[in-house]
Symmetry: C2
Subunit: 295 residues, 2 copies
Amino acid sequence: MNITIKQIRTFLAVVKVNSFVEASELLHLSQPALSTAIKKLEETVGGKLLARSTRTLALTPEGEIFLPVARRLLADFDNAFIELHDLFSLQHGNLSLSAMPSFASTHLPQHLLSFNKEYPAIKVKIHDVIAEDAVKMVQTGKVEFAISFDPDTSDDLSFETLFSDKFVAAFSKNHKLMKVKKVGWQHLIKHPFITLKHPSSIRLLMDNILAEQNIFLNVTFETNQLATVVQMVATELGVSVIPSLYKQQMQALNLEFRELSSPVISRRVGIITRRRYPLSQTAQAFIEILRSYYQ
Amino acid sequence: MNITIKQIRTFLAVVKVNSFVEASELLHLSQPALSTAIKKLEETVGGKLLARSTRTLALTPEGEIFLPVARRLLADFDNAFIELHDLFSLQHGNLSLSAMPSFASTHLPQHLLSFNKEYPAIKVKIHDVIAEDAVKMVQTGKVEFAISFDPDTSDDLSFETLFSDKFVAAFSKNHKLMKVKKVGWQHLIKHPFITLKHPSSIRLLMDNILAEQNIFLNVTFETNQLATVVQMVATELGVSVIPSLYKQQMQALNLEFRELSSPVISRRVGIITRRRYPLSQTAQAFIEILRSYYQ
DNA sequence: CGATCTTACGGGATTCGTAAACATA
DNA sequence: TATGTTTACGAATCCCGTAAGATCG
């Protein structure tokens, strides 16, 4: 017992035009081939569906009963496969991703624009949450991938670097440091320092690197979001060290930013995905846009 | 683009056991054959449904979306064909037939018993209506066939004789005619005659034959149903001529019935079907029971 | 007799199984 | 290295098309 979609299609075509000859033309099939196809179908279902003589063609009562069922089956079938095909060809679908705020509020919008231009029918959900949560959403399968700092080697996650982000010193254009030509850590420790609270990964990274070098900051203000830090620096509460991702935002707020060295603090920004879980074509298409942008 | 049911079955089997090797055993297929089948399916739908390496096997997001759809499609498909198969093998179904009252209330019940014994799952609707309506129901497709008197050659109907029914004289066991050894028409015309109203086909047939022989009955009571005639004869309102189909009923009412000759009135009882309209397997099975009974 | 479906049969495509190669944990 | 999937290739099967045959109106 093996019935094919083609057989159903054949049956429906014959019923539609009420003729084997015409149906065979419709299906681009020789008439005898169609004849045997119908015969085979009837054999597998156990009885005649079409009563035919040389001059008459009619549905049997059983064929009459089967007809609407066959129509529905075929329609369902075609629908399902057209939808699946559309899904693969990115003609519709959904994409969920998470991104740390520093990326979501800076680089991400332009990538979304590129993606939407190329695949206008795909709906995108962006979860702009703190880096730790962005990673968690990948681990729990809430999103297909995240864009964030390297979460360090994890058993169930993999990371692909997009670019490396250097941290730069930031202060108001009214600040005394404006007079300093080459701003270093030794200058920054002398001023009230604004930074993120523990257990932010950025704060942790910074603390660790500076501790190795015996540099101790005068941390006066602590907050949750880098965007807040930037605003606080603009309000001249103190100085800070900010990922250069915020360059544009800092320029808009009329902040001064300077490259730092010895030690250079930088962190790789990239795509975090779940190991052993394949990405959807949609996610791959998005990631491809990111890759080609950052080379 | 040609997807087969087999491919869907293959896909679902792989998902079910989460292994190509096990799935191939389940499907009685070599593992490479299964591999290529999945590959072909993926090619036609335009992307991967299963992400597989030598040690891991997982659904792609698209496969995950397709999985419930595939399950439903296959279930619908199998259901439809099992039902159709059952219909052909007479394991369920409906049958509608019409029968003239003289047959419906006499012979039919025992045939229904035989049919129900052999095909207990089939529901039967019996339309016991006057012969003219029984025939009309075939013409309009309300029933597949009728059991009635020969409606004479009709363009759109065909008739198959089951048996010939002779009309017999009927009267009460208290009637004077009991003394007559061989009852003939010449005796009947002397008594009040009970018969059917026009335009009953039986009445018409009788009138025509008797007119040819210049026999004129003393029609005193006219009614619609033969069953009523029989009862009226039993109440000693008069005599009548009744199809011998009613023999048993007449015996139960303690009526006397005698064969008549010159002229003999008889009419063929048989199966009336619609020309150019095939019968269902169910109807054919029923008719076969009738045929074998009446040879 | 003519239009239409069925049967017969040879050729071609598809699918299958075996064996070997390949890949990953 | 061992397990499991893919590739390669010859064989069987299935399906198609042409041609001839059968049948009904």
